[in-house]
């Protein structure tokens, strides 16, 4: 069955955005091991999330991050139909929120194709009860 993966990317090639920095998630639709870009989903308004934090470069500024705030909740809810989310970094509070919704979190900096190949391959195996060793 097809499912979606949300990716935080600035250039459409690398997973180079922190969760807090993402304004548009790239939503990929995955079927088996094939995937395609399904939509670009806006998750924060123009002077959105990062701006409120007072740190355009991410959430490291205050040391508290944006943890647990309403913005995080809204952002998590916006992609809660996805099975997994891939970003360069995802804070602890946001990870917990995803965990509650049974969404897998992969905080890794790599190329989108590498991430999707590996994640889709992994899900394909476990969904079809196939060993991960093969």
């Amino acid at each position: 069955m097809a499912y979606y993966i949300a990716i935080g990317s600035s250039d459409g090639i690398n997973t180079d955005l922190k969760f807090g920095e993402v304004e548009k998630f790239l939503i990929y639709k995955v079927e088996g091991t094939d995937y395609e870009l399904y939509e670009k989903r806006e998750v924060a308004d123009a002077d959105g999330f990062a701006a409120k934090c007072g740190d355009k470069n991410g959430c490291s500024g205050s040391g508290h991050g944006c943890g647990g705030g309403e913005e995080v909740a809204a952002k998590v809810t916006a992609i809660e139909d996805c099975r997994a989310v891939v970003c360069k970094k995802i804070g602890f509070q946001a990870q917990k929120q995803f965990e509650k919704r049974a969404i897998s979190v992969f905080d890794i900096e790599t190329t989108i194709t590498d991430a999707l190949d590996k994640i889709a391959g992994y899900y394909n195996k476990i969904d079809n009860n196939r060993s991960l060793r093969s």
């Binding site: 897998s104 992969f106 905080d107 890794i108 790599t110 590996k118 994640i119 992994y122 991960l132 060793r133």
Partner: protein, 484 residues
């Protein structure tokens, strides 16, 4: 044919079986005919895995860290070994009790998809920086084995950075074997490869390697050392409470023996091949007959056969009147035994000293050694059930409930809740072995039988999770031959 290196998987040797429900007579006949097949269970409840045994075997080594490349839960089972280590230190008079330095890399979904090697490198670096140990063991797990993280390569590359710490990778993926004792072999294979390195060193006159499993108490250690010193031997007690230096001394020994039958038998074979150290492989020294046998075995290897007979005669004289007293208290009681392969058979022979009757035996593996014991037991006890099961409490409670033994000897977790008086034979804290251990154990069983209040009350206030209908079922319902 090229020599095949032993992989540490016990099933790779012929005649090793697990998962079987039968009776003593039947199993021995079928084994003789070669009719026993390796089976499986269509339903199984828990399994002791290799990783835990590999870790437990080394946990008490001095100045070491243990890095488990696994999800967090995998090290949960190490709690028993940690407990043993802490209590063992107190018994040995250590005032500042230490915990083993146990570090887990916490493999999660991300590691499974993208690889966990970075986590392991970080864990090794951090633990060596923090503790600066002499030894650092890296254990694999099911998860790390499945994703194929190359721990050997990581250890080798990090070894160059840390010349003062010996990094030892141990391949103990839980799924490799259903015989949990394979974990000990995996640990010893790595010790041989990375610490001893097949180097022969000068022999030390009278030195004996005494391999002891996790569950040997300090009292037992002293008793074994006392018995061996009567033969004029010096004891190198490994791997429990030993150190890198003591492990390095292994090849200097004149002979080796093991307290547990299954603990170091494969390693002792390797020691004979690689370092010309003869070994004695007999039984576990529980009960008069087994202690005699064990004692004679090692005496023969070091050429002290005459001396040992004198000592045995002397010990018998001292101990037999005392055993008779216990026998009067225990005569004719029906017993169910559950324990590791070496120990359960040893315990079964022990109860003969006390005139008790065996009704059931649960043990994880069946092999040539077990066959010898079963033939011996068949000579004494006319009819008993045998359950070859690694754990599987559901079968045990069914059997115990069905057979209604007067006493249960072994791992008492579940039987205790059925109200049967239980005695722990895997007790790593009190004496069980040798001539003196026998007396302690006998009195313990007798005391339990005379005062079973704890178990009675426990049974009244606790409930096992099984439906009544399960107790009516065939206990071996879920065993499927041929592993389908």
């Amino acid at each position: 044919m090229a020599k095949v290196t032993y992989s540490g998987v016990r099933e790779s040797k012929p005649g090793r079986l697990n998962d079987l429900g039968s009776t003593g007579k039947e199993v021995s006949e079928n084994y003789k005919k070669g009719c026993l097949k390796r089976a499986d269970r269509s339903f199984a409840q828990g399994l002791q895995c290799q990783q835990i045994n590999s870790m437990a075997a080394l946990m008490s080594l001095e100045d070491s860290v243990f890095i488990s490349h696994s999800p967090q839960g995998c090290v949960g089972c190490a709690i028993m070994a940690v407990d043993m280590y802490r209590v063992g230190q107190i018994h040995r008079g250590v005032r500042l009790v230490k915990n083993p330095r146990l570090i887990v890399t916490n493999i999660d979904q991300k590691s499974v998809v993208f690889g966990g090697e970075a986590k392991l490198r970080e864990a090794v670096r951090k633990s060596v920086d923090r503790y600066n140990p002499k030894l650092a063991f890296v254990f694999t797990s099911c998860a790390s084995g499945i994703i194929g993280d190359d721990i050997d390569a990581i250890c080798e590359s990090l070894q160059a950075e840390y010349p003062d710490t010996l990094l030892v990778p141990i391949h103990c993926e839980g799924f490799k074997s259903k015989i949990c004792a394979s974990g000990f072999d995996a640990a010893f294979i790595s010790i041989n490869k990375y610490i001893l390195k097949h180097q022969k060193i000068a022999k030390e006159e009278g030195l004996i390697n005494l391999f002891a499993p996790t569950t040997v108490s300090y009292a037992d250690q002293k008793e074994m050392e006392r018995m061996l010193s009567l033969l004029g031997a010096k004891v190198n007690y490994i791997p429990f409470y030993s150190s890198l230096e003591k492990i390095r001394k292994i090849p200097a020994a004149q002979a080796s023996t093991s307290i547990c039958k299954v603990f170091a038998d494969e390693f002792m074979k390797t020691l004979e091949e690689d370092y010309d150290i003869p070994y004695s492989h007999t039984v576990m020294p529980i009960g008069i007959r087994n202690t005699d046998k064990w004692y004679r075995g090692i005496a023969k290897v070091i050429g002290k056969e005459k001396e040992v007979e004198e000592i045995i005669a002397r010990e018998h004289e001292r101990i037999e009147p005392l055993v008779k007293k216990i026998r009067d208290r225990l005569q004719g009681k029906r017993v169910f035994i559950c324990g590791g392969t070496g120990r359960s058979f040893a315990a079964a022979a022990l109860i003969d000293d006390f005139g008790m009757e065996l009704v059931g035996l649960e043990t994880p593996t069946y092999d040539d050694d077990a066959q010898i014991d079963i033939e011996y037991l068949n000579g004494i006890h006319k009819d008993f059930v045998i359950d070859i099961a690694n754990m599987q409490p559901f079968e045990q409670v069914n059997l115990v409930n069905r057979l209604k033994p007067d006493a249960f000897i072994g791992v008492p977790e579940w039987a205790a809740k059925l109200g049967v008086p239980t005695t722990h034979v895997l007790d790593g804290k009190r004496p069980t072995m040798g001539y003196d251990g026998l007396l302690f154990l006998g009195n313990k069983i007798a005391d339990q039988l005379e005062n079973p209040g704890f178990n009675k009350k426990l049974a009244a206030h606790s409930k096992l999770p099984y439906k009544d209908s399960w107790y009516e079922e065939n206990p071996f319902k879920y065993i499927t031959e041929g592993g389908n």
